[in-house]
């Protein structure tokens, strides 16, 4: 099976999806709904709401299209001996120039010619295992993002209909906070064990060059999640006051 026969339908499908997205959301994005008295705030909320709508649909489609596209890419490129795919592995990289004796001139200005960093290292691999593993990690991330977006979209919808201060909305924002915390806790483990599996798969035996999977405690993510949960508590209190206010005659 040639590359063209597989890639062409995939490309056509992709173009069709983009066209469908554009046609479906064009009216919502480029026009302001008439009929309701729109204040400036309301217009901004509506814009964000439609953006979320679009983004949500986009993520759903990406998640739906990713598995077939992965298979198509694998089938079409499998026979190609030069085939490889870039994956980003969060790793600790250490380069010891002392080991490159004879290759490197004596560097000036540094006491010990040893460099280290913690970064996402791009690795070009032909390992299908690595390819699917990292695709799976991004799909899990996509599902978490989808969950957060669904909650956020409902919050914005309630904001548009002036029903924002409710215990339900507070619950939704709390769920977003939990999702952020869970993802902040799970993602480093996925990255670490995924990276370990990949780096073990790729034999790495160059002296003076160390590449290990990195693990980082996600302080920012955890803190953000906590702040969101606290804010949901504030909203819950606001909802209670709103209810009191409504029932004050």
């Amino acid at each position: 099976m040639s590359v063209i026969t597989i890639m062409l339908p995939a490309l056509l499908l992709y173009v069709a999806v983009i066209v469908w997205l554009f046609v479906h959301f064009k009216s919502k994005i480029f026009s302001v709904r008439s009929g309701t008295a729109s204040t400036t705030d309301n217009r901004l909320t509506r814009l964000v709401y439609h953006f979320l709508d679009f983004f949500l649909m986009f993520i759903i489609l990406v998640l739906l299209m990713m598995p077939p596209l992965l298979v198509v890419m694998t089938i079409s490129q499998f026979d190609n001996p030069e085939w490889g795919i870039d994956i980003g592995v969060f790793s600790n990289l250490r380069i010891d120039l002392n080991e490159f004796a004879g290759l490197v001139m004596e560097p000036s200005g540094i006491r010990n010619p040893e460099f280290s960093t913690q970064a996402v290292i791009s690795i070009d691999t032909y390992s299908l295992f690595a390819y699917y593993l990292f695709a799976l990690i991004s799909v899990i991330g996509g599902v978490v993002l989808l969950y957060i977006l669904l909650q956020l979209r409902t919050v914005f919808a309630s904001l548009l209909s002036d029903m924002a201060l409710t215990p339900e909305n507070s619950g939704r924002i709390r769920k977003i906070g939990y999702a952020v915390i869970v993802w902040s806790l799970v993602n480093p483990f996925l990255q670490y064990f995924g990276g370990r599996a990949v780096l073990r798969d790729i034999a790495f035996n160059v002296p003076g060059f160390q590449l290990n999977p990195a693990f980082e405690i996600p302080i920012v993510g955890l803190f953000t999640g906590l702040v969101i949960i606290v804010l949901s508590g504030v909203l819950n209190e606001a909802a209670r006051i709103q209810k009191d206010q409504e029932l004050t005659i």
């Binding site: 209810k243 009191d244 029932l247 004050t248 005659i249």
Partner: protein, 72 residues
């Protein structure tokens, strides 16, 4: 919690031979809000509303509100 204070609006309306709509018109609050008050669902009442209702019904606040000791 809110059932501790009983609102005797029913009784006063019957005694004054008034309907809820008439009272709402006279006091100047919506029928829906007055209905909330009558059914004992209200969480609070403003002094201004209380004064207006008492004026319309020609009664004292104590006639309108009563501590429901059984609800405790």
């Amino acid at each position: 919690m809110s059932a501790m204070i009983k609102v005797n609006l029913d009784l006063l309306l019957v005694q004054r031979k008034m309907t809820l709509t008439e009272l709402a018109d006279e006091v100047g609050i919506t029928l829906a809000n007055l209905s909330i008050l009558k059914r004992g669902k209200a969480r609070a009442i403003r002094f201004s509303t209380l004064a207006a209702i008492c004026k319309a019904l020609n009664c004292e606040p104590g006639d309108l509100l009563e501590l429901d000791k059984e609800a405790e």
